[in-house]
Symmetry: C2
Subunit: 333 residues, 2 copies
């Protein structure tokens, strides 16, 4: 039985979509118990809407909520009874194997490092986001934790990302690319130029060189390494461009009777195609390199994404990803 | 009569598509004369395929070609008779008002600064790329010239970009946004945090704050400011995601007979929609802040993009953009 603490109060659609996602996860998987952390009244009310295996959901009261706008360091220090702090403490004490939250990225990042703690040897835990591609899925990291990261951090991201893709997603010898603005080694900014030769030296990762942003949707690398400013820009633009294009295509098809009829006919096929390009089916972004598992889902996460994020924790735990990360980094010291 | 020098040898499709684009431009516009720079034999052969107003195309021989892989500083210094160097010299001497090339970005950047020269007060000339959005078009700069740029450079990009959008594209008081990973002022990397307050102080630009990458396709700002690493990643990902999604949608619709029939019906509407999202109709990226006009088009530029890039030079010249940039920067000294 895997125990997953879930932040019932985080994100734009809390607690409704979160609770719905939790119910969905435990209804599909007997091997998961959810510790649902949040305001008792509100969470109970949401839970009462559903029938589900009661023993698989435990309500853990937390009276406070950390808002997205709050400065994270202060918020984590002061709001001891917030759903994020309570959830992180469950992981720290070993009562939970993982914590899933759609709440403040900053608070999750701070709480993950301060409460759960970094694995020995990890300099900076990165957010690793799974992004859909033409060929399947790639891991983009760091997608939001460490802006202004240093070359040694990026090398660790490459190692941790490789382990994740190999053992959680099941891609043997995942190809690692560094985000760059040209294919040649001498291209790039100061950070990339310094990191490139370090990655080339790593015999334990399958470094395939620079990846230009246009190759990302084609699946040009399995592990895509960059600092978090670039990573977050990529993640947000990826989502934004997809959503805009799809809405434009839909609107365009409603323009004439002829195309409306056509739209009805192509709808099922189109839906299938776009599903393949929907990030939510892969669940959330794990904060890699911590002593426990902490997963951040989108602030706008739907029940489906919450459910997938919870289920994702099982593989992470079963494959002993943290042990593998620790061993891999220790071997390099 | 505007005189535009065009690099017949630059890009993947040279000289064929370039010459075709030149012929197209002069066939549509009586007020443009093209000085077509390149290998005499090859260019003549291509020109012989078309009927066009002969007086509007002048062949200027250049025996060398700078390849994309060549280190740009060396290439510009050594290949004095390359199409890029010859074309730049035509702008410098005043024989041409502008130079359009699909060749090596690095060589265009170096040549622009060394041969054409910067306007007084301009620290770093940025590439400004026009990108299509849901609402129309935005200018992304720097889209490729200055990685590791400094805050003062970004402020100049904002000024130059505002002038361009107002006078070339015709948007009054263009909204200027700085690319960031959150909406709040305290978000961002060191560069953004330092630049933000400087932009806020500029009374001559309409600074609207941070723009998250997901807002770019929605048209969240008219002028989108960032350093060139981020800018190039945005530009390439924008193009890559669009192309991938469109190809997936097309492929998806060919999956069943039902959707094939539907695809035939939606095709015209879809084509119209996607045309709105096609970057090539806006022409190339001007290198702003030089004593003349230098425009870089995609290495894979089609005849249509070449033609649009040439025509774009007319407005730039007529609106006296360089004079306006010079005045705007002088006023700030």
């Amino acid at each position: 039985m895997i125990k997953v603490a879930v932040d019932a109060m985080g994100g734009d659609n809390a607690p409704g979509e979160i609770v719905k996602g939790v119910v969905d996860a435990v209804s599909h998987r007997e091997d998961i118990q959810v510790l649902l952390v949040g305001k008792e009244e509100a969470v109970k009310k949401e839970l009462s809407r559903y029938t589900y295996p009661k023993k698989q959901v435990l309500l853990i009261p937390a009276s406070e909520v950390i808002e997205t706008e709050e400065p994270p360091v202060n918020a984590v220090r002061r709001k001891k009874d917030s759903s994020i702090v309570v959830g992180m403490n469950l992981v720290k004490s070993g009562e939970a194997d993982a914590f899933v939250s759609a709440g403040s990225s900053g608070a999750i990042l701070v709480g993950g490092q301060v409460i759960v703690g970094r694995l020995k040897g990890v300099e900076r835990p990165p957010f690793g986001a799974l992004i859909p591609t033409e060929k399947g899925v790639s891991l983009l990291l760091d997608s939001g934790a460490n802006v202004d990261a240093r070359p040694s951090h990026l090398v660790q991201f490459a190692r941790m990302g490789s382990i994740y893709m190999e053992h959680v997603i099941g891609i043997a010898r995942p190809r690692v690319g560094i985000v760059n603005i040209g294919a040649e080694e001498e291209k790039g900014n100061a950070l990339v130029k310094e990191t490139f030769p370090l990655l080339k030296e790593c015999s334990d990762i399958n470094f395939t060189g620079s990846i230009e942003a246009r190759e990302i949707p084609h699946g040009g690398a399995d592990v895509i390494v960059c600092e978090a400013f670039t990573g977050n820009v990529i993640l947000k633009l990826y989502e934004g461009t997809g959503a805009t294009l799809i809405s434009m295509v839909k609107k365009g098809m409603m323009g004439s009777l002829r195309s409306k009829v056509g739209a009805l006919l192509v709808k099922p096929a189109l839906k299938e195609t776009l599903k393949a390009f929907d990030a939510s089916r892969y669940g959330g972004a794990p904060l890699l390199g911590l002593k426990g598992l902490v997963v951040k889902t989108h602030g706008s996460a739907s029940a489906r994404e919450v459910s997938n994020s919870i289920i994702q924790c099982v593989t992470f735990k079963e494959q002993k990803i943290n042990e593998k990360i620790r061993e891999s980094l220790e071997a390099k010291e």
